[in-house]
């Protein structure tokens, strides 16, 4: 049976198509001006077209993410925590602590070996606690987010940031640039700040091996390094398609839930 999972996040929409436990296709779009339900339709239809499928080929669709209720064609919707735990179990059955850093929320999810979320803690609706903070600062430094992350790896300083709000931090970064602080050190300061906020949330559920990082920021090597340091651990497991893990979890749950 073919199932689909759709994750309507605060910044991107992700779709995963699954057939008999194998990923058949996936798609990510930036909705921009589109309304949530239109964005969901667009992402779904584009994913299907790329895989050579139609909506009729799909047995069931489950939805997750901040906008999951807007997905009219979904059979059921599940929380980000459940979807994340399920998706992670596909890659790392040994995972016990999941760190999920999206655009607007950084959260910790506790999981047992069965793919269920047993506990979670997060701080949502504040841009400073998650990916969009790093992205805004990378724009202030006029670097792509990837280059921003790579730059931070070249720094060994630990400059604390005073500002806790994205709006104030932009001014702080500008004045650091004017004081000739190297971009590498600023980048590290920013990623350290986000990592520290995310880590505080994860500590509320406790840190147990294996620790897995999901969400878009997992692509950022600089952020992964800052997070390891904040959590005082040597290893963080990274799945192949970290931003799709929620959607994958939905597709898996759809397959188990059946028609």
């Amino acid at each position: 049976m073919i199932t689909a999972g759709i994750d309507v996040g605060s910044r991107t929409v992700k779709v995963v198509l699954l057939e008999d436990g194998v990923v058949k296709g996936k798609r990510l779009i930036f909705p921009g001006d589109l309304d949530g339900d239109v964005a969901a339709d667009t992402a779904y239809d584009e994913a299907l077209a790329a895989a050579g499928l139609t909506r009729d080929d799909v047995g069931a669709v489950y939805a997750t993410g901040a906008g999951r209720k807007m997905v009219k064609f979904a059979k059921d919707s599940v929380t980000d925590m459940s979807a994340g735990a399920k998706g992670v179990s596909y890659f790392f059955p040994t995972a016990r602590t999941i760190v999920d850093v999206g655009a607007e929320e950084g959260r910790g999810i506790k999981t047992d070996g069965s793919g269920k979320a047993t506990d979670f803690a997060g701080n949502e609706k504040c841009a400073a606690g998650a990916g969009s903070f790093a992205e805004a600062m990378s724009r202030a430094l006029q670097l792509s987010l990837k280059d921003f992350g790579d730059a931070s790896l070249r720094s060994s300083k630990s400059i604390p940031m005073n500002a806790q709000c994205t709006v104030f931090a932009e001014s702080e970064v500008v004045s650091l640039i004017h004081s000739s602080v190297p971009k590498e050190d600023i980048a590290k300061a920013v990623l350290d700040a986000v990592a520290s906020r995310v880590c505080a949330m994860v500590r509320r559920v406790g840190i147990d091996k294996d620790v897995v990082l999901i969400g878009g920021m997992a692509h950022n090597a600089g952020f992964v390094q800052s997070l390891k340091a904040a959590m005082a651990i040597d290893e963080i497991r990274l799945p192949e398609m970290p931003e799709y893990v929620g959607a994958l979890g939905c597709a898996l749950m759809a397959a188990e839930g059946g028609r």
């Binding site: 949502e124 609706k125 841009a127 606690g129 949330m201 500590r203 559920v205």
Partner: protein, 94 residues
């Protein structure tokens, strides 16, 4: 005076209130200072020349994160600072 340290942002309201009238000549010897695992409290002389306790400046804007360890998800064990303050001057808004 009631001094409220903290903030409100998109994710919620996080304030620690200290009733400084109860702080003056503290019968608990400002035990809150040692009780907090992050050392967030310190004593100072306020604008009216009284010896009271406040939250150190570097913590005031990140209370949701700094207090996170004392507030595990799903549980609400007694907070070390509140327990240590026998005059009952300390309150958390979340």
């Amino acid at each position: 005076m009631i001094a409220n340290y903290g903030y409100k942002d998109g994710s919620g309201e996080y304030y620690i209130s200290i009733d400084t009238d109860r702080c003056i000549n503290c019968p608990a010897g400002h035990a809150c200072l040692a009780a907090c695992p992050k050392g967030m409290f310190e004593t100072m002389t306020d604008d009216y020349d009284d010896e009271v306790t406040w939250i150190k400046a570097q913590f005031r804007r990140s209370l949701a994160y700094d207090c996170a360890e004392c507030k595990p998800s799903g549980a609400r064990p007694p907070l070390p600072c509140v327990v240590a303050c026998t005059p009952g001057a300390i309150k958390h808004s979340w």
